[in-house]
């Protein structure tokens, strides 16, 4: 016999993501899902952010990687709480992994939780992890056509950081072209040009975090 199903394939993950959203909303914690290719600078951005805003916010990080706890150690060196998830080959984080990681985090009084997803410009976009916003990094060394080639992640991101702008004199990266593709995919996307190495442009990112944090608190 034929049985009509009409069920969203990712409903189990979406249900858990909603539970996480409710949990974070009840505590007024801003949660950001940070995504990019490997090496775009997610951990460097976190190191800067955690150090520069340490006096303003209580922040924590959930790190996703295939192997090693290198990133959690880098982030923890700033004094922030960090939990490492090793996906052992898995290409993205999902909500059940975040639920599990939360058991190791003290979220009492937390202002901002960063979820650093597995370095991958494709798969993480499909899986909500209870975040308020997705944020995508793209480093200028990767090429200005990446939003065009990997559209979904930019389409779903509320903000995007073009990192490593200190390398612009050495690479063929057209900032306007990259921004044009991003806006075609998502006309409201907020774009920051930054360098985590020189700290250029980070103040704009920090102001956005402050605004998002204030909105979540109320």
């Amino acid at each position: 016999m034929k049985v009509s199903v009409i069920r969203n394939v990712l409903e189990a993950n979406d249900r858990l993501a909603q539970e996480l959203k409710d949990l974070f909303a009840a505590r007024g914690i801003l949660v950001l899902n940070l995504m990019s290719s490997p090496g775009a600078g997610k951990t460097s951005l976190l190191e800067r952010t955690l150090a520069d805003l340490a006096g303003e916010f209580k922040m924590a990080v959930i790190e996703g990687d295939l192997q090693t706890d290198n990133d959690a150690r880098r982030v923890a060196a700033t004094g922030a709480q960090a939990v490492q998830i090793n996906t052992e080959g898995g290409c993205h984080l999902n909500s059940s992994m975040i639920m599990e990681a939360l058991k190791q985090l003290d979220i009492e009084g937390l202002d901002i939780l960063f979820i650093e997803n597995v370095g991958n410009l494709v798969c993480p976009a499909e899986f909500d992890v209870g975040e308020d916003s997705k944020v995508t990094l793209l480093s200028v060394a990767e090429g200005d056509d990446k939003p065009e080639k990997y559209p979904l992640m930019f389409n779903l991101s509320e903000a995007s950081l073009l990192n490593k702008v200190d390398l612009l004199p050495y690479v063929d990266f057209d900032m306007d072209r990259a921004k044009g593709f991003m806006r075609a995919l998502n006309k409201d996307i907020i774009i920051f040009g930054v360098s985590c190495k020189t700290k250029e442009g980070l103040e704009g990112w920090y102001d956005w975090l402050r605004t998002k944090r204030a909105a979540k608190k109320n």
């Binding site: 016999m1 394939v9 999902n94 559209p151 075609a184």
Partner: protein
Amino acid sequence: MHEMSIAQSILDIVKQELEKNGLTTLIRVKIRFGQLTNTVPEALETGFMALTVETPFESAVFELEQIPARYKCFKCCEEFSPEHTGRVLVPCPHCGEELGHTVLAGKELYIDFIEAE
């Protein structure tokens, strides 16, 4: 290779539906996926095969159908399907606007039906 996770989620739902309807043998499962999701049909098929080999689902037919993208123009509000697929800039055929269209279809990923006995 997130298709493996998707294939596992499909199997979980199929098992629930079989049990709910008192069925035991899966003959066919039909999945519909939007053109704008990052779903690679061949990878999804491979994932489904890998997860069902030497199980009661091994002989089930796994059928995939793509749902084309459809937009509503940001400027003139006309609806259209892009002429060329896989392009970021999708100009509206009515007014030429390239930015800010609302996606009406193409982001779906769901199990349409199963055939079982």
